[in-house]
């Protein structure tokens, strides 16, 4: 710890490094000394730009998220101001109609995707590990990867403005307006791809946070005892995992429609338009809670801290949130009350909608009653939280109007909706701004100027209501429209004035936060009386390793135990948590079944002693072995990268390997600095982000499966190829890099005590993959029903599409699943050749699957029948589109699996996995999943 204590001072506040160092803090002069300590982690000093490119530390990433999100707030805000200027009088003034549509669409997309959630996840990154007593997230490099994918997806969206104009079909992107026939700009494709990349980032992030929160809580910090902010993030990430998987499917299909000419959302003849609405809103409604829950968490923290009271009805508050999180997936059709859905469904969704509003009543009352008999301090964070609650109440009341279907009919597409969701969502932003003031001292070590903070709130609150309240009055203004009834002109002008006031209030905030970085008072560990959570028990900003010891709640309140101590000494409630570096080897022998190391867990039956011995005596070597398996998984990414979606897949798989690798014992770092064995730096996430960005820019030029003629097309094609190779290189590079994250065992891991981080990560990822495939299969079924399940559908399919190739492939895959099981058995028997043989058989079977499929496709492409004179291609009709795209997605999963197999074989050749078979086991998990998916696809696409 010695040298760490000075380092963290400069750790928190990003861009201000210089000014801060010049400031008259006690350690001002030691800044340089602080920096030199970083070399243990490969992390440059915070003042260098390189630090921010390579960092994987959760606090750094949190700051990156926060700053980037604020940038997008300005971006989206400027677009909003453009619209408000346009609306000063009815009719087009400063913007052309299409420019206005672009502004509307980009404003919505940027604010919801690139500002709101990432802003909340800036705090989540920074605060959640602190609140749960973890030194970092479970997969630090993946966390950095999430950030870079987020940033570059946002830049990609920015690029779309310069490709003939960005997407102009509204943030809901309704079909078929979202197709190139109606939105032909290349920029529109780019915007869709940017969203796709963003979703990949979200998926990686969800897996990471879920694994962290479920596995790495401090001893004694059971789920029920988690602070409310952490609770909201936990539920948010669960919703994200599933909701964004549905959006991923929607965006993959949309990208295929736009780029390679599939026919899902084409206008008429089938229900493409409704299909999009279902897919989008299945994601879209949970998204409302995804963006709102973190704000609720901030409110809960601030209400407790600044009233000096514990929240009323805490467990009911949590129960209400859990209920909402579950039910959020059952209300999406209330966005479609005016479509052709029938009365019974309308009734059902009206009921679920009202049902989901009730828990919020409880939460609101819980917050209100928390103030009673408290000592309310009107600090800036509290003012914002209090204001947010007021705004949310107004948003909620006006939401009940929308819940009455008869009223909803008339509100549809009007400013009532606009005003309502701005009260709710910007109400959420209000709380998050409060969160920024609340944690600013923790993140930077400085206090903001309190007067300017309150001034900000005053301007913000007045501006907000001046902006949005007139929209209720002028509610008959059509949404996304700049022509409105003359009588509303005054109201719209008030609104515009409010918009500029709201915008100006943020200038006050930026000024305040910027200047305070150098001139603000130093913040103590806990500048707020009555705050309770762990982040306030450590310095502001916290040191790189967060805690002065091992945090534990075993005794009933927070303690920092000496590193290496066993909580069992103090209280039997928290078994397991030892200082990893020091006692890792011994752990398997003494551990009574708590989160064991990977090795001892996977072959718990035999060879435990053996393993332990290895770990202790031979730790360095085992580590080296373990450190590499990521490569294989990395290559998964490489392949999947072409599909866009599967990046996440690969990313996750990659981390599994990483962890597999770090499971054992530290290398030389452990020797020279026992306490700080983890790595905190890797340039590869940045490189993957950059190359993904360039790759997608290239890909955006695609239309109907080919690039345009001439120089422009050549440029797009060239960029795609070069960046594609670069992306592969970056993925392999990240896979090959040795990186040591955190090791278990951790404190509380219920209900995943028996599963290590990597495996849990893979499980969670597969869960989202299930939803992805589910959405694909659901889309297929939806379209097929709309077309006519039997007769009409079969007319769309040539007679040459027979069962046999699919049947053969079913046998091939099933057999390969069996050989993977054999591989694991071989591992346990320590049979190197058995392992290699089984894996090689798997590889051969998988390749046979792909060859068989390629032959089948080739044949279908060149069918010459009366009905299909030009073959049966991907764009021939909806049947061919669903067939090729769904089975193609599956084939990509197979290819990814084969790349992993190749890698496993190469490593097995060198004697790996006999001592630690987890990589083989995890690969098996993935492979069985891919096989099971096929067992669904085969009957659907070949038999029925």
């Amino acid at each position: 710890m010695t040298d760490e204590t000075s380092d963290p001072r400069t750790d928190g506040g990003e861009r201000v490094r210089e000014s801060r160092r010049g400031a008259k803090r006690t350690d001002g002069g030691t800044a340089a000394a602080g920096h030199e300590t970083d070399h243990h982690h490969g992390l440059p000093a915070p003042s260098s730009i390189k630090r921010w490119l390579v960092t994987t530390n959760h606090k750094d990433v949190g700051i990156l998220y926060t700053v980037t999100a604020l940038f997008f707030l300005v971006f989206g805000g400027v677009l909003a101001l453009l619209m408000r200027v346009q609306l000063w009088t009815p009719g087009a003034t400063i913007l052309e109609p299409l420019q206005y549509n672009q502004a509307v669409s980009a404003h919505g997309l940027i604010m919801i995707f690139w500002f709101l959630s990432p802003f909340a996840f800036g705090f989540a990154n920074y605060v959640v590990p602190l609140q749960i007593g973890a030194k970092d997230l479970a997969f630090p490099r993946l966390n950095a990867l999430s950030y870079w994918l987020y940033l570059f997806s946002g830049i990609l969206f920015g690029v779309s403005f310069f490709q003939g104009g960005t997407f102009a079909g509204g943030w809901t992107m309704y079909a078929p307006l979202n197709l190139p026939v109606y939105t032909p700009n290349i920029g529109a494709s780019t915007a869709v791809l940017a969203l796709l990349l963003f979703v990949v980032s979200v998926t990686v992030s969800s897996v990471n946070f879920l694994t962290t929160m479920h596995r790495m809580r401090a001893e004694g910090l059971t789920l029920r005892r988690m602070p409310l902010f952490t609770w909201t993030i936990l539920l948010t990430t669960w919703m994200m995992l599933f909701a964004f998987a549905a959006l991923l499917a929607a965006l993959m299909i949309l990208s295929a429609d736009r780029l390679i000419g599939t026919q899902y959302f084409a206008a008429t003849g089938h229900a493409g338009s409704l299909l999009w609405a279902h897919l989008f809103w299945f994601f879209g409604h949970p998204e409302v809670y995804i963006v709102f829950f973190p704000a609720l968490g901030v409110m809960a923290e601030c209400f407790q801290t600044f009233t000096g009271k514990r929240i009323v009805g805490r467990k009911w508050f949590i129960a209400a949130m859990v209920l909402v999180a579950l039910q959020s997936f059952l209300v999406w059709m209330h966005h479609m009350f005016l479509t052709s859905i029938n009365l019974e469904i309308k009734t059902l969704f009206m009921a679920t909608t009202i049902g989901i509003s009730l828990p919020f009543d409880l939460m609101v009352f819980a917050l209100v009653y928390t103030m009673l008999k408290g000592r309310v301090r009107f600090t800036t964070p509290f003012l914002f939280s209090f204001g947010a609650l007021v705004l949310f109440i107004l948003g909620g009341i006006t939401g009940v109007f929308l819940g009455a279907v008869v009223l909803d009919y008339e509100f549809r597409g009007t400013y009532w909706v606009v005003a309502h969701f701005h009260y709710v969502m910007v109400g959420g932003i209000t709380a998050l701004v409060g969160g920024l003031y609340y944690w600013y001292p923790k993140m930077t070590g400085k206090m903001y100027d309190k007067f300017l903070g309150k001034l900000h709130f005053a301007m913000y609150f007045v501006g907000f209501n001046l902006l949005y309240f007139p929209m209720f009055v002028a509610w008959e203004t059509p949404r996304r429209d700049f022509v409105y009834p003359e009588i509303y002109t005054t109201w719209h002008q008030l609104s515009t004035v409010g918009a500029f006031l709201l915008g100006a209030s943020f200038l006050v905030m930026f000024y305040n936060l910027w200047v305070s970085l150098s001139t603000g008072e130093d913040a103590s560990d806990n500048p707020w009386q009555f705050s309770t959570t762990t982040e306030w028990a450590i310095p502001s900003p916290p040191p790189l390793e967060n805690f002065p010891g091992k945090p534990s709640f075993s005794s009933g309140s927070l303690e920092f135990l000496p590193d290496g101590s066993d909580a069992g000494d103090i209280e039997p409630a928290g078994p397991g948590g030892r200082e990893p570096a020091a006692t890792d080897g011994g752990e398997a022998t003494t551990d009574g079944g708590e989160a064991a190391t990977d090795g001892s867990e996977t072959d718990a039956d035999d060879g435990e002693d053996d393993d332990d011995g290895k770990l202790v005596t031979d730790g360095g070597r085992v580590m080296t072995d373990g450190g590499q398996p990521m490569t294989d998984d990395e290559q998964v990414v490489a392949d999947d990268g072409t599909a866009g979606a599967a990046d996440a897949n690969a990313g996750v798989a990659d981390e599994k390997a990483t962890d597999g690798g770090t499971v054992t014992v530290y290398d030389e770092h452990a020797a020279d600095d026992e306490e700080h064995g983890e790595d905190h730096a890797s340039i590869w996430p940045f490189r993957i982000g950059l190359t993904s960005f360039l790759f997608l820019v290239g890909l955006s030029g695609l239309r109907q499966g080919s690039f345009p003629e001439g120089l422009e097309g050549g440029a797009y094609l060239g960029l795609t190829v070069v960046a594609g190779v670069g992306l592969l290189w970056a993925l392999v590079g990240m896979g090959r890099e040795e990186f040591h994250g955190l090791e278990g065992p951790f404190g509380e891991s219920w209900p995943f005590t028996g599963i290590n981080n990597t495996k849990l990560g893979v499980w969670i990822f597969l869960a989202s993959d299930v939803v992805l495939f589910g959405a694909f299969v659901g889309s297929y079924a939806f379209i097929r029903v709309a077309e006519g399940w039997q007769n009409n559908w079969h007319h769309l399919i040539p007679a040459d599409h027979v069962v046999l190739p699919g049947l053969i492939n079913t046998y091939l895959l099933l057999t390969s699943s069996f050989t993977v099981v054999l591989a694991l058995v071989a591992c346990e028997k320590r049979s190197k050749w058995g392992l290699i043989g089984s894996l090689a058989t798997t590889l051969v079977l998988g390749i046979a699957f792909l060859i068989n499929k390629a032959m089948e496709w080739q044949h279908l492409f060149h069918v010459h029948s009366e009905a299909f004179p030009n073959g049966w291609n991907i764009g021939t009709n909806v049947a061919s589109s669903t067939f090729y795209l769904t089975t193609g997605l599956h084939a990509l999963h197979v290819i990814a699996g084969l790349v992993i197999t190749l890698y496993l074989i190469a490593r097995a050749w060198n004697g790996a996995y006999l001592d630690d078979d987890q990589p083989v086991e995890l690969f098996g998990l993935y492979w069985h999943f891919v096989d099971i998916v096929w067992l669904f696809l085969f009957p659907l696409f070949y038999i029925l």
């Binding site: 602070p227 005016l338 009202i354 009543d361 008959e476 309770t532």
Partner: protein, 266 residues
């Protein structure tokens, strides 16, 4: 044939006098207004009470700089809940009752608005509405096609709405009628205008460059005038474009085609 023989048909309210009790009935304008007013009054009341209570208590319990209470929360404690559960549940129960009863009340109106008899009345005027980028086409049972919607006053008019290109939403705000116009799908709604005059229909779902200008005139005529007008129409003298009267995807021609080709620029 669907033109009512008796043009001066009584309004629906009069048709269902027995049901005009607590559940709002009447034209869409009337039911909307009744429900909206009730919601507005109650919503304002609840809003004022709750926000007022919040502000009052925030002020009442403001920090006066007194002693730190013994049981005050402190850093590092495990989070627990404060008391006050009974109050919480009372308020929660009250709000539940208000919300649920309000919604149930409006549900009665929904059933009425969506009633098969209302939506598909046998002898009502039936008009097909087709949205396109960027305008509306109205097709009458005799095949007459026009860009102005003409309807008789005080009669229920059935609308079958679809789109021939992208997702639109057809609505006439003053008559409180609205429904999505979805390509490949048919949606049904109805309207009844009490006053003659000119109203404006428009699109409520973003659909491209001309979205803000995607309007159509709605002319509510005296029933006798409507009768005269309708008697002189036929598929041949359509003011929009002559074509088959059935709704569905078809090749566009005439004025609509030019609108579409402009639209594709978007």
């Amino acid at each position: 044939m669907t033109v009512p023989a008796d043009p001066i048909r009584p309004s629906l309210v009069a048709l269902h006098p027995a049901q005009s009790g607590i559940i709002p009935r009447g034209t869409r304008v009337e039911v909307f207004q009744q429900i909206f007013d009730v919601f507005l009054v109650l919503g304002t009341l609840v809003g004022v009470v709750v926000v007022g209570y919040m502000v009052y208590n925030a002020y009442k319990y403001r920090d006066d700089g007194g002693e730190r209470p013994d049981d005050a929360p402190k850093v590092g404690e495990l989070p627990t809940g404060g008391g006050g559960g009974r109050k919480l549940f009372l308020s929660f129960g009250l709000s539940t009752i208000i919300v649920v009863s309000l919604i149930l009340w409006t549900y009665g109106t929904l059933l009425y608005v969506e009633d098969e008899a209302t939506v598909e009345g046998g002898d009502d005027v039936q008009i097909d509405v087709v949205g396109y980028r960027f305008g509306w086409d109205f097709v009458y049972p005799n095949g007459h096609e026009t860009s102005t919607l003409r309807v008789p006053a005080n009669e229920t008019v059935q609308l079958n709405v679809t789109s021939e290109d992208v997702f639109h939403t057809f609505g006439v705000p003053e008559l409180r009628v609205k429904t999505d116009a979805i390509p490949g799908q048919q949606t049904q709604t109805w309207l009844e205008a009490e006053e003659t005059g000119t109203y404006r229909a428009r699109c409520f779902e973003i659909c491209g460059a001309g979205h803000s200008y995607m309007t159509a005139e709605v002319e509510v005529m005296r029933p006798s005038d409507y009768e005269n007008w309708y008697a002189n129409t036929s598929a041949e003298n359509s003011s929009a474009v002559a074509g088959p009267s059935e709704i569905g995807p078809r090749a566009t021609a005439g004025p609509r085609a030019s609108a579409v080709s402009q639209g594709v620029v978007g």
